[in-house]
């Protein structure tokens, strides 16, 4: 221990106070808690003007002193002069969008009192406030007033906690004022102007008191009003509560108080779960609860009771007499509420039209022969956690009057997400905003309002422009797409693009010595055309004993992205790269993704290699993991590789190696299929872009070559090998991926449909049985039918997820789709964060380096997994939405007649999938036949009988092949381009 660095111990005396508060425990007892609070004098004001505080600051563990934040020359307005701003908690919570706005709010002092209150009230906003503080440009400073002796405020007897906090904030203002005055008067620059401290609060009482104490206090509206470009900013001020008080004619049922909800959930009279709105019918939602195998049904706006899709809600069961079956109708909100006026409320929550639909459903429930379809029905009685975020939408044109005055008006915003209601915002710019994609935030949904209240955040651009739509879909799927910040970019190697593998491998770097030099191996990579971020490369070599050495080499991202750096944090928060049709949103900065990490041909790169010894029969004899240095000989596209393998005139070693790989991969694949791996199809389409105008040209279904499966097989093998290894080394925290077996209930409907229509079934006993039974679902007359069933089966499956090995027992690790006992993601560290974690764990497992604490703690790993699961899902949705948008654009130019398949039948419409474009479209009964009332829906056989406009009778059932005319059409009221199909006979 003699070599240890002695750390200096703080001996300066501190004064002590105590924090006393009362906490209620789970059992309902109140406990008084007393905590120490040390008051000190070394908390800086962090103003660059100050000459006193810099003498007094303390360094952190690494001896780094935080630079001062608040600028010497802060924001300035005509009325106030230059000033620093102090905000209170309500401002932070209600107007966080404004605080984040680039145009205003610089040099903000956030008292600790405010920060603590924000954290207690809303964690997401706390997180956003924290990231604002990190943002160097915005110059936010958290002033720990509770720990500074001069600014600490003791709660007075009979003083409410809010009053005490307000007093603490006022004390901060007063202290800053006198402190800066003092420090400037001490300075040798006496001409320095004295700054004002401005308190922004919407609390009238607080403002009056502040003014009495000589503090400049303004409301948010007053402050924004004093800024030069206040017009747009004023719209962003959240709606204030007083506005709603006049409308009292109707109301949603009040939510239960939190204590009752908690009690109810605990003693199992109420149930908690996430609300899931039906995409075809916004009046219907389901809540999955652990208590019931099937989700609970919630019907009607009143029962959904202001909950949003995705909210965590508490529900109460309705009496059995009110149980219904899921509706068989399609209900679009936009159709129903087209004529609502944003300023005048309609007198009842449920409109007449909605009542009609509900009535129809009640009738169905009574008359339906199929008893089993009646589901327990419930109503929402409370919302535990809102899923509110930013939403993208556009102003409903007919909800605003056409006059061009800039007075404040209420308008409706129709969101892009169909499952959500429209939002009422108040804006002065309605005239200019019509026809644009805009971002809105939701403030509240009072019980007496039919629509949630929100405010305008910003405009993205004209509807249907590529930029606006792309940004909209990124925002809508919560994808971080802003450029990387400076702190993140600072973590990159200084050499930039000139970074090279060191020539001298014996330069004293211990880590480098542990790398294996594999530059002599004939490595190549096979990827899609134009791939820049090459994650993986392969090689095969004959060994003297007749076996093959096969190696998978993965980009060594872990070398550049060290744990607990800002770069790592950014990667962890993005979770995955997002691939759109014309754009890629990287998880890691370009320099790494497309250059330093990318296993480009002809250059030396660091890699993480998995080396197997495989017998010619495909049996694995030995597995090795090592960090390595490789030099890829060639980067092939799938087609090029295929051509080269098929070309018998090519007899060089590289090609021979690839043939060996192909041969082995076929054996591996066969083994996997024998074990019960599923082949689930989903129509993947590719949009061809015109290279010059980058306008979408043509749509094509992706083709699969042998080489695709070559690469896939070896990646699967590498992932499985790595999963085993890291699980062995880190049984509690290994980063793994599982895919649960689908519950039988998911397949009930599909099985019933297959049985009734085609006399087929799918078996669910095991993945093998499912794979076999899917193979049997063949219609001789219709080759596509099998793929169709697979597509529909895929939709019944659960999603695969990342998890940390401590969260599940070993049997539950199983990857159902791949029929593997254990699985992880290791092979794409450039575009997935899970792989980076797996890399680090593997590096630690082979003794290359020690593992960061955050990958060794169960709860931290669970948090990482939760986030990347969410990001992964969002990325998939964003990718699909992008394809959908472009397919729409392609169809705009070319209308055509296509083959389609009926995949859903409702009593008032059908859904058709067109495989050629991979799009689905809805046809309403009104468009099918002249007289909707003449149609008959037979639920037991999934048939719809109707009379066509021409007068001929027609029957349409699920799985039917139909001819449709496909075109894309812009719906004027919603601004959304939709694929519109019409049935041809």
């Amino acid at each position: 221990m003699s070599t240890t660095v002695k750390r200096s111990i703080e001996t300066k005396s501190l004064s002590i106070s105590s924090k006393v508060f009362v906490r209620s425990s789970k059992s309902g007892n109140a406990t008084k808690i007393v905590r120490e609070q040390y008051l000190r004098n070394d908390i800086p004001c962090s103003s660059k003007l100050c000459l006193i505080c810099p003498l007094n600051v303390q360094a952190d563990v690494n001896g780094v002193v935080k630079p001062f934040v608040l600028s010497e020359d802060p924001n300035r307005t005509k009325q106030l002069g230059s000033h620093y701003i102090v905000i209170d908690a309500n401002i932070a919570i209600q107007a966080i969008d404004l605080l984040e706005h680039k145009a205003t709010f610089y040099d903000i002092i956030v008292p600790q009192t405010v920060l603590d209150e924000v954290r207690n009230r809303s964690l997401p906003i706390y997180a956003r406030l924290r990231s604002l503080v990190k943002d160097e440009d915005k110059r936010y400073y958290i002033f720990h007033n509770e720990f500074r002796r001069d600014t600490f405020v003791q709660r007075q007897p009979k003083e409410s906690i809010n009053d005490r906090n307000d007093r603490a904030i006022r004390r901060v203002c007063a202290w800053y004022k006198s402190h800066l005055e003092e420090s400037v008067s001490n300075s040798d620059r006496p001409n320095l102007k004295i700054l004002k401290i401005v308190l922004i609060t919407n609390d009238f009482d607080n403002r009056t008191k502040a003014k009495a104490e000589g503090i400049t206090a303004l409301s948010l509206r007053e402050y924004i009003g004093s800024l030069p470009d206040s017009e747009t900013l004023l719209d962003m001020i959240p709606t204030e509560d007083q506005l709603n008080n006049k409308r009292k004619e109707f109301s949603f049922p009040e939510h239960f108080p939190m204590s009752r909800l908690m009690g109810g959930v605990k003693n199992k009279t109420l149930y908690q779960g996430a609300l899931n709105t039906n995409q075809y019918n916004f009046l219907e939602a389901t809540v999955s609860t652990p208590a019931y195998p099937k989700p609970l049904l919630i019907l009607g706006l009143e029962n959904i009771n202001r909950a949003f899709n995705g909210d965590s809600v508490v529900v109460e069961l309705l009496p059995q007499s009110e149980w219904k079956q899921p509706s068989t109708q399609i209900v679009d909100e936009e159709e129903l509420s087209k004529n609502d006026d944003a300023t005048n409320e309609i007198s009842s929550v449920i409109t007449e039209q909605e009542r009609k639909i509900l009535g129809q459903e009640a009738l169905d429930a009574q008359t339906s022969s199929a008893e089993f379809k009646i589901q327990p029905t419930a109503k929402v009685v409370g919302i535990i956690k809102r899923s509110w975020r930013y939403y993208v939408g556009h102003i409903v044109p007919n909800s605003t009057t056409s006059d061009k005055t800039s007075s404040t008006k209420s308008v409706f915003v129709q969101l892009m997400d169909r499952c959500l209601p429209r939002i009422r915002i108040r804006t002065r710019q309605s005239a200019t905003l019509v026809g644009k994609r805009i971002v809105v935030a939701i403030d509240s949904w009072p019980a007496n309002s039919r629509y949630p209240e929100g405010h305008f955040v910003r405009a993205l651009g004209e509807i249907e422009t590529k930029e606006a739509e792309t940004e909209a879909l990124l925002l809508e799927h919560d994808v971080e797409y802003r450029p990387f910040s400076k702190t993140v970019l600072d973590c990159l190697p200084k050499e930039g693009h000139d970074w090279k593998v060191p020539e001298n491998l014996d330069n004293g770097d211990e880590q480098l010595k542990k790398r294996k030099d594999l530059r002599d191996l004939l490595v190549c990579s096979i990827d899609p055309v134009g791939c820049q971020d090459i994650d993986d490369a392969l090689h095969a070599k004959m060994l003297p004993n007749g076996n093959h050495q096969v190696g998978v080499h993965i980009a060594d991202v872990g070398h550049f992205v060290k744990a607990n750096t800002p770069l790592d944090d950014e990667g962890a928060s993005r979770g995955t790269s997002v691939y759109l049709v014309d754009k890629r949103i990287d998880m890691l900065p370009m320099l790494l993704g497309t250059d330093l990490c990318s296993l480009k041909p002809y250059v030396e790169r660091f890699a993480f290699s998995v080396l197997w010894e495989i017998t010619p029969e495909g049996e694995i004899v030995k597995t090795d993991f090592t960090k390595s240095i490789i030099r890829s000989r060639e980067a092939f596209s799938y087609e090029q590789a295929q051509i080269r393998i098929d070309d018998d005139s090519q007899q060089d070693e590289l090609t021979q190696g690839m043939r060996v790989l192909l041969k082995i991969s076929k054996k591996l694949k066969q083994e996997r299929i024998n074990a019960g791996a599923l082949n689930l199809a989903s129509p993947e389409v590719k949009v061809h872009m015109d290279s010059e105008t980058s306008d979408p040209g043509d749509v094509e279904i992706k083709k699969l070559l042998d080489t695709n499966s070559l690469v896939e097989e070896f990646m699967l093998l590498a992932n499985i090998s790595v999963a085993k290894k890291i699980y062995e080394s880190f049984p509690q925290t290994a980063m793994l991926r599982r895919h649960g077996s689908p519950p039988a209930t998911n397949f009930e409907i599909l099985n019933d449909q297959l049985r009734v229509r085609k006399n087929m079934t799918v078996s669910l006993e095991s993945s093998r049985a499912l794979a076999d039974s899917l193979d049997r679902c063949v219609d001789v007359k219709e080759p596509f039918f099998n793929t169709l069933v697979r597509i529909m089966a895929t939709r019944c499956m659960l999603a695969a997820e990342y998890f940390s090995s401590g969260s599940y027992a070993y049997p539950e690790f199983r990857h159902y789709g791949l029929a593997s006992e254990i699985y992880t993601h290791f092979t794409s560290p450039i575009r997935r964060y899970a792989d980076i974690v797996a890399h680090r764990q593997l590096a630690a497992a082979i003794g290359y380096e020690t593992l960061a604490q955050s990958h060794r703690e169960k709860d931290k790993m669970e948090r990482i997994c939760g986030n990347i699961n969410k990001r992964h899902r969002n990325a998939q949705f964003a990718g699909r939405a992008s394809i959908e948008y472009y397919v729409g654009q392609v169809l705009k130019a070319s209308e055509s007649e296509q083959e389609g398949f009926v995949i859903k039948v409702f009593s008032n419409g059908i859904v058709i999938l067109v495989p050629k474009f991979g799009v689905e479209g809805l046809i309403h009964i009104e468009d099918l036949c002249g007289d909707p009332t003449s149609s008959e829906f037979d639920e037991s056989t999934y048939c719809l009988n109707f009379t066509e406009k021409s007068g001929t009778k027609r029957q349409i059932a699920i799985f039917d092949k139909v001819k449709v005319f496909v075109k894309s059409e812009k719906d004027e009221s919603t601004g959304r381009r939709k694929v519109r199909m019409s049935l041809l006979s």
Partner: protein, 252 residues
């Protein structure tokens, strides 16, 4: 863009500004208060120690006739430690069974620690009773008990190599934190060291959580440094008390 809220769920143990939940910096001890000779009439040596809101009283009796055969060693004194935890010492009142495993382990740990410093070979066939009463707990129970026992032994006039001073330290991400309170102990990996005098030799090293090897050294370094400053405070108290005694004697 909404950040993932869950990643911020953790309590603010150590803020980005470098302050802990109670306003201390990473390398600061809680307020350490001590007193010796508090129970002069009922014991041979006594002390009272406060580390923040952890408060204990310690009483030493002996060296004295051993309680029985099992407490008799031919070559050295038998040190027996008994920790008594008051049921009102925690936030949620709970009865601590006198001989539960946890308390027994605490007894043994303190006993072994003190054996390193007490010159017990000077008192063969005797027993030294150390009884510790825990009045309030707020993290760092073991170090507080060790510190109190050291002071009481000194008060009882039992020869020791040097002070044994103990202190805990934990790790938050990569920052070592000194002298943890309950809230921090619940969330962090931490260890307790007992240091002999101003040296680097340890009489006690206790760690019940998992900590990575890279973090161990800085955490131990700061815990040892913390123990050294506790020794200084205790030394000051012993000298103050000694002077007071001498002054009284002079008066007589």
């Amino acid at each position: 863009m909404i950040l993932d809220a869950d990643s911020f769920l953790e309590k603010c143990i150590y803020s980005p500004e470098g302050l802990r939940a109670d306003g201390r910096r990473w390398n600061e001890l809680r307020q350490f208060k001590c007193q010796i000779n508090t129970h002069a009439n009922s014991s041979d040596g006594s002390s009272y120690v406060e580390q923040g809101y952890s408060k204990v009283v310690c009483i030493v009796n002996g060296p004295k006739e051993p309680d029985g055969r099992s407490h008799t060693f031919l070559d050295k004194a038998c040190i027996s430690v008994e920790v008594n935890i008051a049921s009102f010492s925690t936030v949620d009142r709970k009865k601590v069974v006198r001989n539960n495993k946890r308390v027994q382990e605490l007894n043994t740990t303190i006993q072994r620690t003190l054996e390193e410093a007490v010159l017990s070979h000077l008192y063969p066939r005797t027993q030294i009773d150390i009884s510790i009463q825990v009045l309030q707990q707020d993290g760092g129970l073991l170090p507080t008990c060790v510190n109190a026992a050291t002071l009481a032994l000194i008060d009882a006039g039992i020869p020791m190599v040097d002070y044994v001073s103990a202190c805990s330290a934990g790790i938050y991400d990569t920052t070592p934190l000194l002298d943890l309170n309950t809230m921090e102990e619940n969330d962090l990996a931490f260890l307790t060291v007992g240091v002999i005098g101003k040296s680097d030799s340890l009489a006690l090293l206790m760690m019940e959580t998992r900590m990575s090897m890279d973090n161990l050294e800085p955490v131990m370094a700061i815990a040892i440094a913390g123990s050294h400053s506790i020794r200084d405070i205790m030394d000051r108290e012993v000298r103050r008390h000694g002077k007071q005694r001498l002054a009284k004697k002079g008066n007589m």
